[in-house]
């Protein structure tokens, strides 16, 4: 029951600011619920599958998903997720806690500064060099997703808007499509390794879908600017707890 509440809340809060919620789920599941971090990461990935597919289907209907760009970049991202998840299985909990704390600091800084927004209005003609840069960056985003159980939207949207000059709406929609596939892939590694308890699967997925649906509806009526700054402070607190826990292990 507490697991469903945590996942629902994380999905809801993440959706309020346009993210998957993995950066909230992993700390809450591992610290509050005391789940082993590998299991927390696996459950987070499954929950992100729910969050991002329900969000991206909305973007598909609006026509804001560039499947060609998303699928091309996603090849690199999926490869990164497979490698990242496999490596995570061999890493100790200590290293994962510290690494997660470090990524939370990065996410907190990006949130506080408001992220970088491209100014493109139409889809550009993306040349080979830029595509190669995008490919490399997507590999890194996928790797971190598989390693730490985050969706990667905080990385994938800037990759598309800044490296590739994609308009923001299309970048967000395409990123949601990509995150669903990346998380879907990474979670299989954890499932196959027996790191996820089957009894939690159904409630994790359903809670995340419901939380994301409610969060996206509420986000239309809220000022995301202030929310992001509040989240940034919360992320810093979580980061220090995660790093502290890792160091003390």
């Amino acid at each position: 029951m507490l697991l469903a509440v945590i996942i629902f809340s994380s999905a809801f809060l993440g959706s309020l600011i346009g993210l998957g919620g993995g950066f909230l789920m992993v700390p809450l599941l591992s610290i509050l619920l005391g789940l082993p971090i590998h299991e927390a990461i696996g459950l987070s990935l499954i929950s992100i599958v729910g969050v991002s597919t329900s969000a991206s289907l909305n973007y598909v209907v609006e026509g804001n998903v560039d499947f060609k760009l998303g699928s091309t970049l996603e090849i690199a991202s999926v490869l990164g997720a497979i490698i990242g998840a496999n490596i995570a299985l061999y890493l100790s909990s200590k290293i994962l806690f510290i690494a997660f704390g470090a990524i939370l600091i990065y996410i907190g800084v990006v949130m506080y500064r408001g992220g970088s927004r491209g100014r493109a209005e139409v889809m550009p003609d993306i040349g080979r060099v830029r595509m190669l840069n995008g490919f490399t960056a997507s590999f890194v985003a996928g790797f971190l997703s598989g390693l730490l159980g985050i969706g990667g939207g905080i990385l994938k949207v800037p990759i598309m808007t800044l490296y590739l000059g994609v308009p923001m709406k299309i970048a967000i929609g395409t990123s949601e499509y990509m995150i669903a596939i990346t998380s879907f892939t990474g979670s299989f590694i954890y499932l196959n390794a027996g790191k996820i308890s089957i009894q939690y699967l159904g409630s994790a997925f359903l809670s995340s879908v419901l939380g994301a649906q409610l969060g996206s509806k509420v986000s239309l009526k809220t000022e995301s600017h202030l929310l992001r700054k509040i989240f940034a402070v919360v992320m810093t607190v979580f980061a220090s707890i995660m790093i502290g826990k890792g160091v003390s292990m």
Partner: protein, 63 residues
């Protein structure tokens, strides 16, 4: 439950795989979209993605 010892029908009917149906749906929508647009490079990208993910499902990863 290990997927390595399961038959194909068990793959399809297992709740674990049913949970992932929305993501699989997205890939099918992408495939349909690329096919309709007759964008060969996009079609190759989506099919490559399918193959990569199928490989991951069947063999549990490449490492």
């Amino acid at each position: 439950m290990s997927i390595y010892n399961s038959t194909l029908s068990q793959y399809i009917l297992s709740p674990i795989y049913l949970i992932y149906l929305p993501s699989v749906m997205l890939l099918f929508i992408a495939l349909h979209n690329q096919y309709i647009k007759r964008d060969i490079l996009g079609l190759i990208a989506v099919i490559s993605l399918f193959v990569l993910i199928l490989f991951n499902i069947l063999y549990g990863g490449v490492i």
